[in-house]
Structures are given as C-alpha cells and as structure tokens.
Symmetry: C2
Subunit: 409 residues, 2 copies
C-alpha cells in the first residue's frame, strides 16, 4: 500500500486535468481545481478495519489525502474533534437526534487548522518556501502557525478590524504580517500584487487545491463517528464554503469506496448571516452562481464573504443533496449562542451559533422534521471572540457576602 | 465488569478512611481526601486491549474513574489531547526527545475541563444541585460550563482582574457570577461563607476529592500515547498542583496494574513563576509544606497561588520521583512563548511557556540530560490570554503594495 492514492487534479467547471506533481493554482478557465484519487485501487486494499490502530487525528485518512511522503507531514494533532450529543437542545428543538461537531477543540481553535495542516504539508512537499494570503482572521492564524511548524515563511494581510486574537496568533508565529485599513478584498488585492511580483505561493481560499482536502476530513470523521452512517441533515456556516464543498466531496468518496451506503446522502445546509447572504439569495433564485453582496455586515466575521470563489460548488452540493440555504440575524445567533452555553455548557463561536439558529428555524418550518438526525458544525471556539459577550456582572468588595448582594439585586 | 472500581476515600495525611457513597470534602484533620480503587480486582479483568475500541476521550479509562453510573457522565468530548513531538525545539535545547502534551485542545481551552468533567459528573451522581467556587478564571469557566451541561446551578466568585475571556465563559454559562475587587483569597472567603450559610457544594481546589481524578487522566494518556512507557522527565506548571498530584497518582496506579514498569518513574518537575514560588522555596529547603508567598505577582495568572492546599502532596511527588521545583521569570516565559510559536507553530499559554522555559534552564544545568525523553504540559490555549502578546504591526492603506512598505520599514 502507498501512503496516498492521489491521482491528479481536475477542473469541476471545464473538466481540464492537471498534474499534482507540481504547484497548481486555478484552472485556466478561472475555476478552483479539485483533487482526484484512484478510488478503484484504494477500494481493494483499504477498509475501516485499518483505522482502528491509528491515532485520533485527520492523518488517519492519509490514503484519501494528497500528501505522498509522510516526511512532510506538518501536524499539531488536528482532527477527530468530538461529535457531541446535545440532549437538552434536541428536546428544546424537538429533533430526534442533534449532534455538534465541535471544531473549537483543535489547534488554533478553529476548523481552519484542517485546511492549513494539509495545505502546508503539501506545499512543503512541493518545495514551497513562502506562502501568502489575505484573511479575515482564523485562516491567517492557522496558515501562519502551520507554516512556522514547517519552517516556511508566510506573508499575511488582514483587515484592522479582524479579531485581535487572530492577529496575535499571526504575529506570534513570526509571519510577515500586515494590517490593512480596509476590507478583506483590499487585503486580497495587496496579496495578489505581491504574489505576481515576488512569486509567493498563493494560498488564498481555493486558489490552491489542497485546503479543501483538509476540510474534507470533517465529513470523513462525521461518518466514522456515526459508525459509517450519515445523518439526515448537516448544517454548515458558510463564508467561503470550503468545508461544505469538502464534506460533500468526502461523502461522495466514501460512497465510491463502499464505506457508506450509496442510497443516502445528508441534506446539506449552507447557513449565512442576513447581513451577508449571497448563497442564500442565489439558492432561492435557483442560480448556479451567487452575486456580490454589497455592504455586507455581520458580527459573525468568518461568514462575511460577499462573493465566494467556490460559490458554484457550494450551490452544486446543495442542489445535489436536496439541501437548502438559510440566513439568520445577528440577534438570533447571539441568542442561540447564549442558549447553547446555558443548556449544554458549550461556548460556540458566532458562526457555529448561526448554524444552530438555522436548525431551529428549519425545524419550525418543518424542513427539518422531528424524526431527523442532525449534525451542526461549530467551526470554532467561542473564546476567540471575546467581544460578542455582553453581560452585566455584580462587583463585590472583599468581606461582602453573597446573601446581602442577592437581596440587593 | 463494573463501570468503576472505586473503593473508598482516604486521607493521605492521617490515613482515615471515608465512604465514597456520600458527598465528602476535607478530612477532619484538614487534609484533602484521595480516591482509592480496587486495583487487585481490576488487574484481573482489565488490559490495554480493552481501550482499542473506545472513543478518544478521558472516559476510556472509566474503570479508574470515580463515576459509578454512566448515566451521570457529563462530557463535552474532553481528553486524549495530542502529545506533539517538537523536533525543532528539541534540537534547539539539545534534548533527545521533547513532546508537548497540549491541553489547549480541549473544551473550554484549558486542562481545567478534565477536573470539571469528572468532578461535575460525580457531584451529579451524588445528588448535588448547586456547586460553588472561587476562581482565578479557567477553573470557574470549566466548572460553570460543565455544571450547565449537567443542569446544575453554579455560584462563581472571581477577582475583577481575572482574564476577561474566562469571565465571559462563566457569564454565558448562566452561573451566578460575582466579581470581587480583590484577590482569589477574598473570593475564597465569600464562597466559604456562602457554602456554610446555604449548603452549596464546595468545589474549591481539592475541597472535593474528584477533580484530581479528572486531572489524573493526563498521566494515563501520556503513558498510553508513549505505548505504555513513561518519559524520563515531566514538567508541569504548578499553581494548586492538582495535575502534578494527579499524574503521580495515575502512574502509581498503572504500576499497580502492571501496565507500566515498576522500575521506572519519570522525575516530576513543579514549575513556578519567580513572582510566586512557594513550592520551589519549600523544595529547596527540603520542607514537607510550603509557606504563604506574600505579594505574589506574575503574568501567568494560573500559577499565582501563594499557598496551595495540596502543597504537601506536590512536594511528596517531587521527593518520591527524584524530581525538582524550579522558578522562571515573566520575561523568560514570554520569550519562550514567542520562540515556541515561531519554531513549532504552537501558541501556548503563559503557564505552559513557563514549563518550557524551565526545561531549557534545567537542560543548561544538565539536570535534564541530552539523553532524556521529556514531556512538557501546556495547560491551556494561548488564545485565552490576548493581553500577553505585544507586537507592533505595520498598517497599510487600500492600494498600498507590500514592496513599498518593506522598503519603508
């Protein structure tokens, strides 16, 4: 058996193929590229039995990942995040089974670690010395830290408004970090220019084909954690949508391998904010691509993406699985965030909270039925967003007693 | 086989025994109580083979944990945090093998989750309805969130200076949260009074016997992750010292069970800050207990404990394993924190950074030799402490290019 069954790259839009043995970015037609594996060959030699002795991280699926030489594996122990049952919330929402895939329990505190681990490892294998990207925060944090782990240079540009904690992470990693007094699109232009002038390796969302393979492992893990079954519905907070595309790809590959049934695919749900809902708008109109969302605004920074480069792949996944797209307000997601902490003890990020709010909404509309088994992706730790919590707390003086204070209240 | 081989509680100071079937706090002699298991019986029926099919969390060791009825298990997927090799840092320090046990990758972002998961589960089993504790931050965050998960009330008192993120966690959990304009000792007095007046269940450090059993699982995991071997040295940032006591207890129990060799115990190292080093002082003087450290001050909030209730157990563990205690300065730990991020891509907490700085110091003194295998505990995620990072970052305007800016710098 070989370490990876990587075969080649292909364009999902024009079907052109590319060699995976050298660095590749977008297709000449402008589309992101996807990774293809020799599933027929892999099917003959690989079974779930092989996973039993492997460590609980995403590299347990190395046959289905693009890295060919494990020497270049760049890992901080990412993956196999818990799939947590939420009994109180499921009763509250009247859903048969509700689980949270908790991506807060991962290096760098967000699901971006998966894409970075696989993307940096593959870049290292391809001989890349310096990578560059614009970021709204979490992706830059993950890629710059994994780059350091791989002894690779990184250049990161982020808006001044991006969460301070993610800025700390990039700065501490030793990245060439720049803030821009503007939006992520301004950061993107600055990076694009630097890439062109200096030959840096561009790891902007979907501009290299391997990040999606890292994100894909969320789908592989959900299936394994459910005993090689799939739920009825998976909800995913959607900015760039890489994770949703990845989960869809993962489940298709598992079907090809015969590890899960070909008869059943979960309905995938793209969750967005009402302040930035281009995928929702496109899905409602039955479009194959989204339009740029003007003046986008939401407290859920990670899903503030006005026009995703992979939007057509997200929409494909929704149509293919009879899924849907739904938007929630900042108020709804903040209420849900509070409710989840109080009912289940989990402090989810605003993006994850949006996905729970969407589940509640879809249940109310009976799009999710009382009989469904539902998995919600929480894409990061709530602790990364200290500014979303506003609760008044009484201050005591030394020697005060709680009794007194309670009466005063 | 039964779920737990819990036998009874005992006092490590005066040897008095107590029933585990009802709530217990300190011994009448004032010492914390420890949990005893029926290891002779367990030895006959349990082997590492049993663990292979179990999920990667701390409940895989349920036979060695105090919860007797799994119905009361209160879990958010905690445990089996990665043991990460640090090849660059180990070369830098000239140590044969250096690993980090990364407790940042756990619910609530700190190792306190382990104690809370097991402590809250057992409290629930014992019929507790409302718990109370003073906290410097992370413990309160963990216990209040796990209490919510168990539908239990919690009363938490923390200094106004405790990290804001941990305050958020407590507040969001729905705890009865109070700030005190003073120190943790002031918080402790307020909680003690409330416990006495209102009969709340006191879960202050070591005032209930089960937190240590949760922390113990760090030791079980290290042994399992090294293939049922132990390293030569384990370094642990020591405030209350519960984790160090727990790791020592765990390894003793594994020796009794015959899962690891009786001939070898790692040298345990208690790491403190120069601004609060009571254990170090006591160890240097060969004392069995520490003295209160006046005017303690350190940026590593979690190890700012002037006098630990379990100090004698920490010192016992050091003497028993031929370990030592060592203090580092805030400057040293902040430099180490930066170095680890740049060399290995890991953003550790200040307390974890202190333990790495101590490893470097002990290696320089040749107390750690070039032939040793060393495990350092990083007790939490660096992202929980945004105020420890101060790095100047250049700000660009939209349309600027990196080239220009680099020249200006």
């Amino acid at each position: 058996m070989t370490y990876s069954y990587l075969s080649h790259l292909y364009c999902p839009k024009c079907q052109e193929t590319y060699k995976a043995s050298e660095p590749q970015h977008l297709c000449t037609c402008g589309s992101p590229l996807l990774v293809s594996y020799d599933l027929d060959k892999l099917k003959e030699v690989w079974s779930p039995e092989h996973l039993k002795e492997r460590t609980p991280d995403l590299w347990r699926y190395h046959e289905l990942l693009p890295l060919q030489d494990p020497t270049y594996k760049t890992s901080l122990g990412e993956g196999m995040s818990p799939l947590i049952p939420l009994p109180t919330l499921q009763t509250d929402m009247n859903i048969r089974k509700l689980h949270m895939k908790d991506e807060g329990i991962i290096p760098t505190g967000s699901f971006k670690a998966r894409g970075a681990a696989v993307g940096v490892s593959k870049a290292k294998e391809l001989g890349v010395k310096e990578l560059a990207m614009p970021t709204n925060g979490n992706a830059g944090a993950a890629w710059s830290l994994y780059a350091s782990r791989a002894s690779m240079e990184s250049t990161i540009v982020m808006p001044v408004d991006a969460p301070k904690i993610t800025r700390n992470e990039c700065a501490l990693s030793g990245a060439n970090l720049f803030l821009v007094d503007g939006l992520i699109s301004d950061a993107g232009k600055i990076v694009a220019e630097a890439v062109e002038k200096s030959g840096l390796y561009d790891v902007s969302t979907l501009k290299e084909p391997y990040r999606i393979e890292g994100k894909k492992t969320m789908g592989l893990e959900i299936a394994e954690q459910l005993g090689w079954n799939v739920p009825d519905v998976i909800l995913y907070p959607t900015g760039g949508g890489v994770g949703l595309i990845g989960i869809h790809k993962a489940l298709k590959e598992l079907q090809e391998l015969g590890w899960i049934s070909k008869d059943r695919m979960p309905r995938l749900v793209a969750v967005q904010s009402k302040g930035c809902a281009p995928i929702v708008e496109a899905w409602q109109q039955g479009q194959r691509e989204s339009s740029f969302w003007k003046n986008s605004e939401t407290i859920a920074f990670g899903i503030n993406v006005p026009k995703a480069i992979g939007d057509f792949l997200v929409l494909d996944a929704l149509y293919d699985t009879h899924g849907c797209a739904v938007a929630v307000s900042d108020y709804e997601l903040l209420e849900e965030q509070k409710g989840i902490a109080q009912k289940e003890g989990a402090f989810v990020c605003p993006e994850g909270a949006a996905a729970f709010a969407a589940a509640r909404k879809l249940r109310a509309e009976n799009w999710i039925t009382a009989e469904d088994e539902v998995v919600v992706l929480n894409t990061g730790a709530g602790i990364k967003y200290p500014d979303t919590v506003h609760i008044e707390i009484p201050v005591l003086q030394p020697g005060d007693s709680l009794q007194t204070k309670k009466t005063i209240r």
